[in-house]
Amino acid sequence: MASAPKPRVKVPKTASAGEVIVIKTLISHEMESGQRKDKDGNPIPRKIINKFSCAFNGKPVFSCDLDPAVSANPYFEFSARVPESGTFTFIWVDDDGSVYTDEQSIKVE
């Protein structure tokens, strides 16, 4: 692997109570599809992120099952309802069992 996957998440700093906000996430990952062959003709084994999930204060918000047809450096944009101040947690699960996480807090004004 080139380098450890690095998650990047964009969450607004503040929101009003009950507001629906947009969250953008990106993680660096080659998403090797398992369809490609190396220069000797041997198939390159599949290695992708197969699951992404987002929770707010422990309650699930959005999740996604990924297949090899998702592009390298998987990007997601989705919405979330913010009832109170709290923390969003983001989890990416790799085929090899590695888990990458990130956290972002938001304040309700």
Binding site: K59, F62, D67, A69, A72, F76, A80
Partner: protein
């Protein structure tokens, strides 16, 4: 043996057909039955209806490696009017499944955007399963200039 005009034309047509077959060996791409079966598994055998779900995809994708797509389902995401999951399929990829989004009451709205790979010009299909079990579908053809699955 004399070469009649008909025979010459038949030979030419045969020669043209062989490279076309080698370019697209049937086994490498998803069969139509696979897509139908995945849709049936997801919808629980229900016939998908049109409307409610909107799939946004470019008409022409120059690079099949990153094709931006968005889905938006018209739903209040509250009480009974909820979207359970949205599945994205690409019927011309080696494996048609792309991604499945799961929404909750905390999602606020059933909309998501991501980027996908397309091996060649094909249909992208989005299926939405509502909390009451009804299924809605939208479909877009995307023309791909350079395929995105490597060789």
């Amino acid at each position: 043996m004399t070469l009649s005009r008909r025979r010459v034309l038949m030979l030419a047509a045969g020669a043209a057909a062989i490279p076309a077959l080698q370019l697209f060996p049937g086994a490498a791409f998803a069969a139509a039955e696979d897509v139908t079966k995945m849709m049936a598994d997801f919808s629980g055998g229900k016939e998908p209806q049109t409307g409610k779900i909107t799939l946004t995809a470019p008409e022409i994708a120059e690079n099949g490696n990153t094709v931006p797509i968005s889905v938006d389902v018209d739903s209040a995401m509250d009480g009974a009017d909820m979207v359970d999951a949205v599945m994205i399929l690409a019927d011309g990829n080696p494996r048609p499944e792309v991604a499945t989004f799961h929404f909750t009451a905390m999602s606020g709205s059933a909309a998501a955007t991501t980027r996908m790979r397309l091996a060649r010009t094909q249909n992208v299909i989005a299926l939405a399963r509502m909390a009451d079990g009804s299924v809605y579908m939208d479909k877009k053809e995307v023309k791909v200039t350079i395929g995105g699955c490597g060789g």
